[in-house]
C-alpha cells in the first residue's frame, strides 16, 4: 500500500474502495447483488452472531446468491441480538433482529431470494450526523 500523503490521496482511497464494491456488483450480478452485514461486537458474538455469520456466509455460497457478507461492530439493538442488516439492490437496508438458525434461513430464502417482507424487522430509530 502506497502511503497516504495528502487529502487528495484520502479521497482516492475512498473512491477506490467504493469503486471496488461497485465493480463487484457490476461484474457479478448488477440486478441482484446483496450486501449482508452481521453485527459482531463482543455482546453480539455472545448472543450467537458468529454462528449466524458463518451460516449465512456458507449458505449464500451454497445457494448461489451473489452477495457479500461482512461484519460490523455493535448495531445497538441489544434487545434483539443477533442482528443482521440486509441491503437488496436498489432498496433501503433492513435490520432483522433475534436472528437464529431458522430466521437466518428464512432471511435467505424469503427476503433475499424473493424480497418477501418478514416479521422481526427493527425500524431505524436514529438520524445520522450527515442528515442534520
Amino acid at each position: 500500500m502506497a502511503k497516504i500523503k495528502s487529502i487528495e490521496d484520502l479521497r482516492k482511497v475512498a473512491k477506490e474502495h467504493r469503486d471496488s464494491i461497485e465493480l463487484l456488483v457490476r461484474e457479478n450480478d448488477p440486478d441482484g447483488f446483496v450486501i449482508v452485514k452481521v453485527a459482531m461486537a463482543t455482546c453480539s458474538i455472545a448472543a450467537g452472531a458468529k454462528e449466524i455469520f458463518d451460516l449465512i456466509s456458507e449458505h449464500i455460497e451454497k445457494r448461489g446468491i451473489n452477495a457479500i457478507v461482512t461484519k460490523t461492530g455493535c448495531m445497538s439493538y441489544c434487545y434483539a441480538e443477533p442482528t443482521v442488516e440486509v441491503t437488496l439492490p436498489g432498496k433501503e437496508p433492513i435490520v432483522f433482529g433475534d436472528v437464529d438458525v431458522f430466521k437466518a434461513d428464512e432471511i435467505i430464502e424469503k427476503y433475499i431470494k424473493n424480497g418477501e417482507i418478514l416479521e422481526g424487522i427493527i425500524p431505524l430509530n436514529y438520524r445520522t450526523a450527515e442528515s442534520i
Binding site: 502511503k3 463482543t42 461492530g73 445497538s76
Partner: protein, 488 residues
C-alpha cells in the same frame, strides 16, 4: 411511527462499517479531519475549534475538552503524551467498548489530532485486558493506519509524527481516574494522587499528558468536518452535542442509544426504550453508575445534561442508565452499588476505605431488618463526610447512590427500619413465608418438605407456618402445587 430522537455522532459508523478495514472508515470521510487539521490549521486554531464546540468530557466529570487541550498545549516540555482512557468500569456501561469494537479508527484519528494540537508525538490507549475483542480490533486498526501512513513519521507530509501504543489495565474501577490511570501505566499501583499538578502539567512519566475518554475522542473528527457551530447547535446551553447511554434494566428495548443533550428521561425510557417491561410501573432510573444517583418519576421531564443531573443528585457518569420498576428495592440498589465501591476502593484514603465499608454495613443491617431510624441519619452524615473528604472522584461520588435514594425514597427506608418490611419484596430477611388459607387444601406436602418442622396443620385443613422456627429455605413454596405458599 419511527422515532428519530436519536442522533448518531460518536456512534456514526458503529454497526455500519467493517471495523477491521481502514478503507471503509476512509470511505466515510475517515482521516479527513486529521488531514484538514494538519494541512490547514495552526495548533492554536485547531484547539480553539474544540473550545468553541463546547465539547465536554464524556467519561464522567464533564470537563471542557478544549480547555484541557489548551492547558496541555501551553505546557512546555520536550515530550508530551496523549492518552485515551478506555478503562470503562461502571457496571452496565459498554459504550466505549462498542465504539472501539465498531469504529476504532475514529478514536485513533482523534488521538492524532489531539497530538498535533498539544504537541505530542506519542499516544497511549489504556484499555482493560477484559476487552479482548476491542484490543484485537484496535491492534488491527493501528497496524492498518501505520501501513497507510496515517500514523508514524511525517503524516501526510506535514512534518508531524505520531504513533500509538496500547497499554493494558487489569480492570480496576479506580484506574478510570486519570491520575490513577497514569500511575498504573507507569507500573505503579493504580492509586490516584492529589491534583494539582494536573496531568496537563505533569502526567505520564512526569511529562504533560492529555487524557480523554473514548467517547469524547470519537466526537472529535466530526467537529472538524462539520464545524464548531454545527456541534454547539446540538444540545443545551451548557452541554453540547450528544451523549451515548447504555440503556439497561426493566425497559423493553435495552440497547445502546445516542441522544442530543437535553433529551428528557421520558423520551429515552418510553420512546426509545419502548416503556417498562410487562406493563409495570416505572420507579426510578439510575444514571452515572456507582457514582451516580437515582432519579424518579418527578424527574422524567427534566432535560438530561451534565448540570441538571448534578442538580438532581445524580451525575452523567460515563453513561450507564439502568431503569427500575416497582419490583426493585431502592435500599438493595444502594447496597449493590456500595458493594461495588467497597470492592473497588483503592484503600489509599481513609474516608473512602473505611467510610464506604461502614456505609455498606449500615445498609446491610437495614436490609436485614436490624436497622433503626437513627441509622438513617448516620447514613446521611457519613455519606456527606465521605463526599467532602475523599481524595479522588471515586470516594467523592461513592455515597451518591445512598444519598439520592434517601432523598427520593425515604419512605422505603422508613418501611425497612420502622415496620421491618421491604415494600418491593426483595429483602429476604424482611419477609415471611405465609400460607393463604383459601388456597391450601391440606395436602401436607409443605409440612413434609419443611426441614425444621415449622409447618403444622391437620390433613385436609389449612396449614400454618411458624415464622419463629422458619429458616426461609423456600422448600414449602417449591412443593406446593396450589400456589398457597407466598412470600410477603
Amino acid at each position: 411511527m419511527v422515532n428519530k430522537t436519536q442522533i448518531r455522532i460518536a456512534l456514526r459508523n458503529c454497526g455500519l462499517i467493517n471495523p477491521e478495514r481502514i478503507e471503509e472508515y476512509i470511505s466515510e470521510k475517515g482521516y479527513m479531519a486529521l488531514g484538514k487539521v494538519l494541512t490547514e490549521m495552526s495548533q492554536e486554531e485547531a484547539v480553539n475549534i474544540i473550545i468553541d464546540s463546547g465539547l465536554r468530557g464524556r467519561g464522567g466529570a464533564g470537563f471542557p475538552t478544549g480547555i484541557k487541550w489548551d492547558y496541555a498545549r501551553k505546557s512546555v516540555s520536550d515530550q508530551k503524551y496523549v492518552v485515551c482512557n478506555a478503562d470503562e468500569g461502571d457496571p452496565g456501561a459498554f459504550m466505549d467498548r462498542s465504539i472501539l469494537e465498531g469504529d476504532p479508527h475514529s478514536v485513533l484519528e482523534a488521538m492524532a489530532i489531539c497530538g498535533y494540537c498539544i504537541g505530542a508525538d506519542k499516544g497511549l490507549v489504556y484499555i482493560r485486558a477484559e476487552y479482548p475483542l476491542a484490543i484485537e480490533r484496535l491492534n488491527i486498526a493501528i497496524t492498518q493506519a501505520r501501513e497507510f501512513g496515517l500514523l508514524g513519521d511525517d503524516i501526510m507530509g506535514s512534518g508531524f509524527s505520531f504513533d500509538i501504543e496500547i497499554r493494558y489495565g487489569a480492570g480496576a474501577f479506580v484506574c478510570g481516574e486519570e491520575t490513577a490511570l497514569i500511575h498504573s501505566m507507569e507500573g505503579e499501583r493504580g492509586e490516584p494522587s492529589l491534583k494539582p499538578p494536573f496531568p496537563a502539567e505533569s502526567g505520564y512519566l512526569g511529562k504533560p499528558t492529555n487524557v480523554n475518554n473514548v467517547e469524547t475522542l470519537a466526537n472529535i473528527p466530526v467537529i472538524y468536518l462539520k464545524g464548531a457551530d454545527w456541534f454547539s447547535g446540538i444540545g443545551t446551553e451548557k452541554s453540547k452535542g450528544t451523549k451515548v447511554f447504555a440503556l439497561a434494566g426493566k425497559v423493553n428495548n435495552v440497547g445502546l442509544i445516542e441522544v442530543p443533550m437535553g433529551t428528557t428521561l421520558r423520551e429515552v425510557i418510553y420512546e426509545i426504550g419502548g416503556g417498562i417491561r410487562e406493563g409495570k410501573k416505572f420507579k426510578a432510573v439510575q444514571t452515572g453508575g456507582p457514582s451516580g444517583g437515582c432519579l424518579t418519576e418527578k424527574h422524567l421531564d427534566t432535560p438530561i445534561d451534565y448540570d441538571n443531573l448534578i442538580a438532581n443528585g445524580s451525575m452523567m457518569g460515563s453513561g450507564g442508565m439502568i431503569v427500575m420498576d416497582e419490583d426493585n428495592c431502592m435500599v438493595s440498589i444502594a447496597k449493590f452499588y456500595l458493594d461495588f465501591t467497597v470492592e473497588e476502593s483503592c484503600g489509599k484514603c481513609a474516608p473512602c476505605r473505611i467510610g464506604n465499608k461502614r456505609l455498606n454495613e449500615l445498609l446491610g443491617r437495614i436490609c436485614e431488618g436490624k436497622g433503626t431510624e437513627a441509622d438513617l441519619d448516620r447514613l446521611r452524615n457519613l455519606g456527606e463526610v465521605i463526599k467532602d473528604t475523599s481524595l479522588c472522584g471515586l470516594g467523592q461520588s461513592s455515597p451518591n447512590p445512598v444519598l439520592s435514594t434517601l432523598d427520593n425514597f425515604y419512605d422505603e427506608y422508613i418501611s425497612h427500619v420502622r415496620d421491618k418490611k421491604c415494600p418491593s419484596g426483595v429483602c429476604k430477611d424482611l419477609m415471611e413465608y405465609f400460607i393463604i388459607e383459601e388456597n391450601c387444601v391440606g395436602c401436607t406436602a409443605c409440612a413434609r418438605a419443611c426441614p425444621v418442622g415449622a409447618i403444622t396443620g391437620e390433613r385436609k385443613e389449612p396449614h400454618l407456618i411458624n415464622p419463629e422456627i422458619c429458616i426461609m429455605c423456600g422448600a414449602c413454596m417449591e412443593k406446593c402445587k396450589f400456589d398457597a405458599v407466598i412470600l410477603k
